[in-house]
């Protein structure tokens, strides 16, 4: 085996291993988060949370404003919040396959437009 080939293997193999781990059939992950608004210092229990899996799943945030989705395939999803008395809000969610759980706090201060332009 030539030295050049060994060198190439040393450089390429780690990257290939990482890539193969990313691209092998993926284990589903749990998604956990809380629904809140840091600009208001408010948390939101009782919010309907829907994730656009196939088929879509829906849950309701608990008394601590927490929600869970179990065994979600890795991927990117839209997540929809229905809050009483407010417009519906849509956020984006990345479920990464290398993580035991995906923490997806849904901060309305980030994913909903500000109530005032001055909050930019």
């Amino acid at each position: 085996m030539s030295e050049a080939f060994k060198t190439a293997c040393r450089r390429i193999l780690p990257a290939a291993l990482i890539l193969s781990s990313l691209c092998s059939p993926a284990a589903a992950a749990d998604v956990y988060g809380r629904v809140y608004d840091t600009l208001r210092g408010s948390t939101y229990p009782g919010v309907r949370v829907r994730i656009d899996t196939e088929p879509a799943r829906e849950t309701v945030s608990d008394g601590q404003a927490q929600y869970w989705f179990r065994d979600v395939p890795p991927g990117v999803y839209l997540v929809h919040l229905a809050l009483p008395g407010r417009d519906a809000v849509t956020g984006r969610l990345l479920v990464a396959e290398s993580r035991a759980a995906t923490i997806a706090n849904l901060d309305l201060a980030k994913i909903a437009p500000p109530e005032e332009d001055d909050e930019y």
Partner: protein, 727 residues
């Protein structure tokens, strides 16, 4: 579909790289400040360990190592001494761990490693952070080694195209040559700054400024705090000391802010306040003057650590009377022209601030008459015209409009007496600021008038024994950019440049920095001769109703002549602005040939390339419909802002973004004066503080920042945990 065959697997390589939180996946265990925070020796910060995923039983801290030594017992004692609750950031749920030790510091420069081990459901979880700590500005340095005065100019949202546009409009060109340069073009050194926040490539103005003055990447909407697992409270997050606070606490420097935004807005608040929510304006105002009182927006109970951290400013000049005056104070309505706004708890302006030694002023005459030997709180009136939109009574009127009020400019040939301008009428809620709107606007000081007074006060208060540091913000480069008032934005940049020139010439022994917190997606596309083309009869799309059906027969028969008013590329030629006073400002923003800017991110609006007589929001009730009051016969520019936040089942007629956004572009930083040679390069906003610290030590060349580690101003050694202050 097998993921191995999906583009998602390739996408994963990218997306995993942008997961923003340095935390254990199993528990969300993390240490705050975030890893990589670039501190200076002696700078205070709160150290927090927390989990984000609830366990089935209460998690426990097992070990906390700082540079190899277990300090967990000292940490627990500190938490116990502070007490649970707000002082220590205790989560409501016992199934989450979270504890914050307040106001610690690393007393020696070097590389500091913090490792936490937490037992969660019987399993030991570990996380480790690294903090490069730069040399203190003062330790081991002779007094006066570095500059004694620092003036930090911040053009909010002032991207490179705005600096270019200001030069073109303010100085002009002939045969390709500049007729002159801005002061910003003639500084000693330049850098490209990477502006991302902790959690977004697009920062808002809070972390955009706070990152500069703390060395810590902060989340959008945050002011000198980290994220945490107690979203119920936005005032208990782990905090970090700002450079303004550090210089005052350790060396008695005097500090100040000058802005044309409301004084509690994100940029001025970023040097003096601590809140997860930039919107906590009433509490921020109290922090800026050091007033903690139960029963007010900024209570005392639960905030001993915060009160020990903040340092009251010595000069505060801006607007936003509603954050300082009681709603029942008549001046809130008759002077500041708020219909029904003001504080509900305490009058900071009328009673608290004077009791803390502040002189309080409301207009130019009072500002100029104020004593130089007292702290100064100046709150001026805003853009309260009811016929205008976009700035509002919270924010000082635009430079162009103030110049019109003073008889120094016209808009499309109209002066302050013209009905279209809206200044020849009485203010809406009383004549406290003047008999007419023009009187009130004339009485608002310019940036230069505020700056000269601020420097006089700081010089007097500091004396010969202390230095001072001052933030000067040009806020409306951003606020007017949001509403696509490009002509007005350029006047703002010119006013900033005028102040920079004054500071470089008149402030002795100074380091002067000019930069932006972020850009907006504005760019120069050419010139226009709007007066040469008649608007298309009936407008380009007038009479259209939502949804627009572009390309139908009626529209095809009505080409928009305004598109032919634009000269781009080879045909751009040069604008013809006139400054008959030779003061760097055009007499009128609409010469025969004018500069045209456009925006890469925008709501739907229409334009005829003429300046609006008054600032106006670009869109109507949402991002999809143009404001019918703004260039109704103009060229329709369709929007590209998000429309995802709408009621289910509805069309996009409500609830979305109706202003232009920030961008993720790098911004330009310029520096002049003592130590300016340290600032060239291309680096993150959170690397700026250590450069200022090095300048204050007397360093002047970038080579002096290389001390053995990969970080500027940081030696490679690993100091002993004995040098952790406060633990």
């Amino acid at each position: 579909m097998a993921i191995a065959k999906s583009p998602l697997c390739w996408l994963g390589l990218v997306l995993l790289a942008i997961v923003p939180i340095h935390a254990a996946a199993d528990t969300g265990l993390r240490i705050l400040p975030p890893t990589g925070t670039q501190l200076i020796a002696g700078q205070r910060f709160d150290l927090r360990v927390e989990t984000q995923l609830p366990a089935t039983a209460p998690p426990e801290l097992v070990r906390l190592n700082i540079n190899g030594r277990d300090v967990s017992e000292r940490f627990r004692k500190r938490i116990a001494a502070q007490g649970p609750g707000l002082e220590s950031g205790t989560p409501n749920s016992p199934l989450l761990y979270g504890a914050t030790a307040r106001n610690l510091s690393f007393g020696r420069p070097g590389i500091w490693k913090v490792e936490a081990v937490v037992e969660v459901d019987g399993v030991l979880r570990t996380i480790a952070n690294t903090y490069p700590v730069a040399q203190s500005p003062f330790d081991g340095v002779k007094p006066g080694a570095g500059p004694q005065h620092v003036v930090f100019f911040l053009g909010d949202g002032m991207g490179l195209p705005i600096r270019t546009a200001a030069r073109i409009v303010g100085r002009g060109l002939a045969e390709g040559h500049d007729r002159g340069r801005l002061q910003m073009d003639a500084m000693d050194d330049y850098a490209m700054i990477h502006t991302a926040s902790f959690d977004s490539i697009i920062t808002d103005s809070a972390p955009g400024m706070a990152n500069y003055v703390t060395g810590m990447k902060q989340a959008n909407n945050a002011l000198n705090v980290s994220v945490d697992n107690t979203p119920e409270s936005n005032l208990d997050n782990p905090r970090i000391e700002t450079l303004w606070e550090f210089l005052k606490r350790t060396r008695g420097w005097k500090t100040g802010v000058v802005t044309d935004a409301f004084a509690t807005d994100a940029t001025p608040a970023a040097v003096a306040a601590h809140s997860r929510a930039r919107s906590a304006r009433s509490a921020i105002a109290q922090q800026m003057i050091g007033y903690y009182q139960d029963g007010t927006a900024q209570p005392k109970t639960g905030y001993a650590g915060l009160a020990a951290l903040t340092q009251p400013l010595d000069v505060i000049l801006g607007s936003g009377g509603r954050d300082w005056l009681l709603k029942t104070n008549p001046a809130a309505r008759t002077f500041y022209q708020y219909q029904d706004q003001g504080r509900a708890d305490v009058d900071l302006f009328a009673s608290v601030a004077p009791g803390l030694g502040f002189a309080t002023v409301k207009n130019l005459a009072e500002l100029q008459a104020a004593p130089d030997d007292r702290r100064l709180l100046g709150i001026f009136s805003g853009e309260f015209r009811t016929t205008s939109s976009g700035l509002g009574a919270d924010n000082i009127p635009a430079v162009l409009d103030r110049r019109v009020a003073r008889g120094l400019a016209t808009i499309r040939g109209k002066d302050a007496t013209a009905d279209e301008i809206g200044m020849n009428v009485a203010p809406p809620y009383g004549d406290g600021c003047g008999a007419t709107v023009a009187d009130c606007f004339r009485a608002v000081p310019s940036k230069l008038e505020m700056l000269t007074k601020a420097v006089s006060v700081l010089n007097r208060l500091a004396g010969k024994d202390h230095g001072w540091i001052l933030l000067v913000e040009q806020s409306q480069t951003d606020k007017l950019g949001h509403i696509l008032e490009y002509d007005r934005v350029i006047y703002e940049a010119l006013e900033l440049d005028e102040s920079v020139a004054w500071a470089i010439k008149h402030v002795q022994d100074a380091l002067v920095i000019v930069t932006a917190d972020h850009a907006q997606p504005e760019t120069i596309i050419g010139v226009a001769m709007p007066g040469a083309v008649k608007a298309t009869p009936g407008g380009c799309f007038s009479g259209a109703s939502y949804p627009l059906s572009l390309g139908n027969a009626a529209d095809l028969d009505r080409p928009c002549a305004l598109q032919d008013a634009i000269g781009t590329f080879n045909d751009a030629s040069f604008p013809t602005y006139v400054s008959s006073r030779h003061d760097g400002y055009p007499d009128d923003p609409d010469p025969l040939v004018k500069l045209v800017l456009e925006d890469g991110g925008r709501p739907t609006y229409s334009t005829n390339y003429l300046s609006n007589f008054q600032p106006l929001e670009p869109s109507a009730r949402n991002a999809a419909l143009p404001n019918p009051k703004r260039a109704p016969d103009g060229l329709l520019m369709t929007g590209n802002m998000p429309t995802r936040s709408v009621a289910e089942g509805a069309n996009k007629t409500e609830g979305n973004v109706s202003i232009a956004p920030h961008s993720g572009d790098d911004v330009l930083l310029s520096a002049s004066g003592r130590g300016a040679g340290l600032f060239g390069g291309s680096y993150e906003n959170s690397e700026l503080q250590v450069r200022i610290a090095a300048a204050l030590r007397g360093a002047s060349r970038r080579e002096q920042l290389k001390l053995g580690s990969d970080y500027p101003g940081v030696p490679a050694n690993s100091p002993s945990a004995d040098h952790v202050g406060g633990l």
